[in-house]
């Protein structure tokens, strides 16, 4: 089950979506989180962030919309209070980072490497919830291939750790930012972040989320995510961590067959905290059932006549 994702060795190809698993310890009450291929932590910023005002959350058909706004403890408190648990447990850690400029991303990556805070970096260039939708629109870094390249180069120059770039599905052509990241030196891609969405209360005529716009996740977006992974995998050579609505091992297999080399379980953990572990176990069972000796043999192995 071991995989190598752009230099990051994972004992199995299953991690978790940033922001859906806290800093690991929260779900260790339900299962030994070190059994996952890696724990991807909640986005870290240089300063702690309070996030958006509530309401931040609404359920949608087979999914949910959120506009948390990256509420997080900040890099300093992460290293001090959260990291020791992950290290003690022997978890492989993917440090998801968010900044306001290429320099901030570089600084975060540099700190994480220096302090042993992560085994790989995932640069979140695609959070839909940190802009004020009313005044500034929803421009994401990952919607511009030029900016993707610029940010990727900055992070790559700051660290020797493997660097994964997390992209938004809200683009005309996912291969453009994917290629931009690859050409700028990214070691892998994380696909997909949430899809932009919104809801309106018909009675009050007001937006349901305080930030108006939020990010859609859950099984509802899985077919979109599988297709984007398939598109990107045919365009780039670097490995892809596929995510978007994965609830079962069979869901995860779809991503592998589409071209992902690893997968992340996202908000399905909210419903069943041990979903990611069940996906690990389910993948083992799937491989045994299908006579797959090396899970990497599934990557991009969709059969088309």
């Amino acid at each position: 089950m071991q995989v190598n994702i752009g230099g990051l060795v994972m004992k199995n190809p299953v991690t978790v979506g940033s922001g859906t698993f806290g800093y690991g310890q929260e779900y260790d009450r339900y299962f030994d989180v070190s059994r996952l291929g890696a724990v991807t932590v909640k986005s870290l910023s240089l300063q702690p962030r309070a996030g958006n005002r509530p309401p931040r959350l609404v359920e949608t058909p087979a999914g949910m919309l959120n506009a948390i706004g990256l509420q997080n403890v900040g890099i300093e408190a992460y290293l001090r209070d959260k990291l020791p648990f992950l290290r003690e447990r022997g978890c492989t850690v993917i440090g998801n980072i968010y900044g306001y400029s290429p320099e901030e991303y570089a600084q975060l990556a540099e700190i994480l490497e220096r302090e042993g805070g992560a085994d790989a970096i995932e640069a979140n260039l695609s959070c839909p919830n940190v802009h004020d939708a009313k005044t500034r629109g929803c421009k994401l870094v990952s919607q511009s291939p030029e900016r993707v390249a610029e940010y990727t180069r900055a992070v790559k120059a700051a660290t020797r750790l493997p660097v994964f770039i997390k992209l938004s599905p809200n683009v005309m052509d996912i291969t453009e930012p994917a290629l931009a990241a690859e050409e700028a030196g990214a070691d892998g891609l994380s696909l997909i972040n949430t899809l932009l969405g919104m809801g309106i209360d018909p009675e009050t005529r007001r937006p349901i989320l305080s930030n108006i716009v939020g990010g859609l996740s859950g099984p509802a977006i899985r077919p979109v995510a599988v297709k984007m992974v398939w598109d990107a995998a045919r365009a780039v050579r670097i490995p892809i961590i596929g995510m978007g609505g994965i609830c079962t091992a069979e869901d995860a297999v779809q991503f592998l067959l589409a071209g992902a080399s690893a997968v992340a379980v996202g908000c399905a953990s909210f419903r069943r905290p041990d979903t990611a572990l069940r996906v690990v176990e389910g993948l083992e069972a799937y491989c045994a059932r299908q006579g797959v000796a090396d899970i990497s043999a599934l990557v991009g192995a969709m059969k088309v006549d």
Binding site: F21, P54, E59, A62, G218, F270
Partner: protein, 266 residues
């Protein structure tokens, strides 16, 4: 340590128009649960509704718990369709319980509408462990929506009623009824109900210098402190700590912690 378990429904009855009480067989959860904590219930297998529903624990028995809920939306409507003998997946106990008052202190429990849900269990614990029978204020829009009156009467609690329309007890709000009981610094007030009601209860308590603990309700995705979806604004100087999680930092808060003017806006 929360558990995730399939629980058999031992009883399920209408408690008032549109309100139901459900007893669940879950010894593991019951063993660890304390009044004020909640559980997350999967209302249907499959992908929709996608999220569990947070439910206050009403009473705690040796081999199970009961919940009391009002049918408000899709989740509770589905829940109301379950019959005795069927099973539900339940995660809990979650969140922080009501703190006990100091030895021999007077306590007043204030419940507004379905907000009374966590209070019968609290009353039982107070009688057992704090050595003094709590007083109760029950408030609702109208007589038929006053819940748990009998349970409190059985515990020999003194119950003060208030209804918006005057159909039972005094005509007025929970906070008006609380005021007639003259809480002071030696009284601990526990309240649960709609935000405007709890805000008014907090105001009375602040004015009379009575400590007050409020149990908040919120939409939640994880119930576990992970998703940051259920936050409310707190009176915290440090910007980054201003948003507190109802699920993990609460649901029970010292009422002075909550920024009621911001939190009441929802």
């Amino acid at each position: 340590m929360p558990h995730v378990v399939d629980c058999e429904i031992k009883a399920h009855q209408e408690a008032a128009p549109g309100h139901y009480r459900m007893a669940l067989h879950c010894p593991d959860i019951a063993k660890e649960a304390l009044p004020g904590q909640f559980c997350m219930i999967e209302v249907r297998p499959g992908y929709h509704p996608f999220l569990r529903r947070p439910m206050s624990i009403e009473r705690i028995f040796r081999d199970g718990i009961s919940i009391l809920y009002k049918v408000e939306g899709e989740g509770t409507r589905l829940l109301s369709g379950y019959r005795t003998g069927q099973s539900l997946n339940v995660q809990g106990p979650l969140g922080k319980p009501f703190p006990l008052p100091g030895e021999g202190k007077r306590s007043i429990l204030v419940g507004g509408g379905i907000g009374v849900a966590p209070l019968p269990g609290l009353a039982e614990r107070l009688m057992r462990e704090a050595g003094r029978t709590p007083e109760i204020v029950l408030a609702a829009r109208t007589d038929s929506l006053l819940l748990c009156g009998k349970d409190f009467a059985q515990m020999r609690c003194r119950v003060t009623l208030a209804t918006d329309d005057g159909s039972a007890g005094m005509k007025g709000f929970a906070s008006d009824a609380l005021r007639t009981l003259k809480p002071g610094p030696d009284t601990v007030v526990y309240c649960c109900g709609p935000m405007p009601m709890m805000r008014a209860v907090h105001d009375v308590c602040a004015e009379l210098d009575a400590p007050c603990f409020a149990s908040l309700e919120a939409l939640m995705a994880c119930g576990d402190g992970v998703c940051m979806g259920c936050v409310v604004e707190a009176n915290v100087e440090i910007e980054a700590e201003r948003m507190v999680r109802v699920c993990a930092d609460g649901p029970v808060f010292d009422s002075r912690v909550i920024n009621w003017s911001a939190a009441g806006k929802r």
